[in-house]
Symmetry: C2
Subunit: 247 residues, 2 copies
DNA sequence: TGAATAGTGTCTTTCAGACAATATGCC
DNA sequence: GGCATATTGTCTGAAAGACACTATTCA
C-alpha cells in the first residue's frame, strides 16, 4: 500500500506542465507526420434468428481469395465518417434489408495473421432479427448467402468459427439477465414461441410450467385479447410487452 | 417463417461459384489497390487497483494538444505485428512495470470525432493489479501519472469519462459470476481483505456474516496455517485459492 | 370423439438478506 | 483486563427446479 505513483489526496490538482500554444502546434504536426502503419478496420455482423426451433446464423459464401469456397460472417470496411455501429447496421441492411433491430457490439478480433492479406482488425457486432421479417432475400454482394443452424456450421473462413462460438456463449449469458430473447419475436407472441426461442439459444429443453411461471412473474408481459389458431387443437393465448416495460 | 434466404437443409453444400486462379489473383490486386482510408487504431488500458478501501484508476496527464492539461487513460498505437492484447500488456508495463496480471478486453470505441486529430478507433482493455505489487512508480511517457478513486474523477480527455463509467459497470457485473475479485489480492489474504475489495467495487457495504458464508460455501478457498497480526486485537486467519480451483 | 397442444399447482431445495452476541489475541 | 477486530448461526422470503394431470379447440 502507498507505494503507487502519486498520493490520491492530490486528486483534485491539475497536471503540472502544459504546452504553450506554439508547442501544441508543433506537437500536432509531429502527430500528423508520425507514419504509423495503420491496420485495416472492418466491421462484421453476426446475424441471428430463430427458425424451425433452432438458432440460425446468416453466412455468405466467399468467391475470392483467401478462403474462397468457404462461408464467412458478412462484413466490410468502416467508412471514414461512419460510427462502428452505423457500419454494422449498414452491413446488416445490405444483407437482409432489415433495419431498426437489436444490434450490439460483441468483441474486437485483431490477431496479426488472422487475415493473410494484411493486418485486419475486426469489430464484431451481433444482430437479432425476427424470422417473420425476413421477407426479402439476402442481398448478396458476396455472391451467395444462407442460413445455418449455429450448432451445425460448415467450414468457416478466417477465425469466424471462434467468433460464432463466442457469440453463442455471450447470447446464452445475456439471456439470463436481460430481455434480449424478446428481440427474436414479433410484437405479439405465444408463451410457447418465447420458450422455443429460449430453448434454441440455450440448446436444451425447458420445463413448460417453470418457464411460464418465471416469465409471467416478471410482470413485463400482458395478455392480448386474441389467440392464435394453429391446427386441430386448442389455440394459444397471445401476449405482448407490457406498455410500461417498453421503455 | 421460411422466407429467408436459402433452405437450411442445404447447409452442408458448398458455395456455388468460386474464382479461377486468375480471378483470384485479379481480386487480390483489386483488394490491395482499394485505397480505403484507414483509421488509426489505438489500445487504451484502464489500470485498476484497490487502495485505501477504494477502487482506483491510473491516469496520465496530457501535456499536448488536444485536451492538454486534462487526465486520460493511458494508451498507444498497436504495432503492425502485435496482437491487441499484447499491445495492452505493453502499455500496462510501460506505465506500471507490472506484468502477468489479469487483463481483459472491454469494448471498442470508434465514433467519428471522438479525437479531433483524426479518426481513431480505440480498443479498450482493463487490468486488475494488486496494490502491493506497485513498488515502482509509473513510467510516465505522458509526463505525469496518478491514481484516482473511480468515484471521484477529475475532468477527463476525449470520451474517457464514458469509458471509465462503462468499465466500472462491467466490473460490478463480472464480480457476481466470476472470481475476478481475487485478482486484486495477493496469494494469501484474509476474508476481510476480500470483503474490502468487493465493497470497493460495488461501492456499498456488505454484511460480514453473509459475505463469509457465501464465499466459504463456494469451496474455492482453503485456510492457510497462519494468521495476520495487525494491531492490539485478534489476528485474522489467512486463506488462499484452493489448489484445485487454481486452474 | 379423438388428436394435439394449452394451461395449471405443489413440494423441495437453494440462495440471499436481515440481524447480534461471543471469541481471541495483543497491549 | 480492556481494546479492537475475528468469528459464528438462525430465521425468513424469494427463486429455481422436479414433477403430471386437466382443459380446450378443431377436424
Amino acid at each position: 500500500m502507498g507505494t503507487g505513483a502519486e498520493p490520491t489526496q492530490e486528486a483534485a490538482r491539475e497536471p503540472g506542465r502544459v504546452d504553450s500554444p506554439e508547442e501544441a502546434e508543433a506537437s500536432r504536426k509531429r502527430y500528423d507526420a508520425s507514419a504509423y502503419e495503420r491496420p485495416s478496420v472492418t466491421v462484421d455482423v453476426v446475424i441471428l434468428t430463430v427458425r424451425n426451433g433452432r438458432l440460425e446464423v446468416l453466412l455468405v459464401a466467399r468467391r475470392h481469395w483467401p478462403f474462397e469456397g468457404m462461408w464467412a460472417i458478412p462484413g466490410g470496411f468502416v467508412g471514414p465518417k461512419e460510427s462502428l455501429e452505423a457500419a454494422a447496421r449498414r452491413e446488416l441492411e445490405e444483407e437482409t434489408s432489415v433495419r431498426d433491430v437489436f444490434i450490439e457490439q460483441l468483441y474486437t478480433f485483431g490477431d496479426p495473421g488472422r487475415d493473410p492479406r494484411t493486418r485486419v482488425i475486426t469489430v464484431v457486432y451481433y444482430a437479432l432479427i425476427r424470422a417473420d421479417t425476413l421477407r426479402i432475400r439476402a442481398a448478396d454482394d458476396a455472391g451467395d448467402a444462407a442460413w445455418f443452424p449455429i450448432s451445425e456450421l460448415p467450414p468457416l473462413a478466417f477465425d469466424h468459427a471462434r467468433i460464432l462460438d463466442y457469440t453463442w456463449q455471450r447470447l446464452r449469458g445475456k439471456l439470463e439477465y436481460t430481455t434480449i430473447g424478446y428481440q427474436l419475436l414479433s410484437r405479439e407472441f405465444t408463451l410457447r414461441d418465447l420458450q422455443a426461442v429460449y430453448e434454441a439459444i440455450l440448446n436444451r429443453p425447458l420445463d413448460k410450467r417453470n418457464f411460464r411461471k418465471k416469465v409471467l412473474s416478471t410482470g413485463i408481459l400482458e395478455r392480448v385479447d386474441d389467440s392464435r389458431k394453429a391446427g386441430p387443437h386448442r389455440p394459444a393465448a397471445l401476449y405482448r410487452f407490457n406498455s410500461a416495460a417498453e421503455q
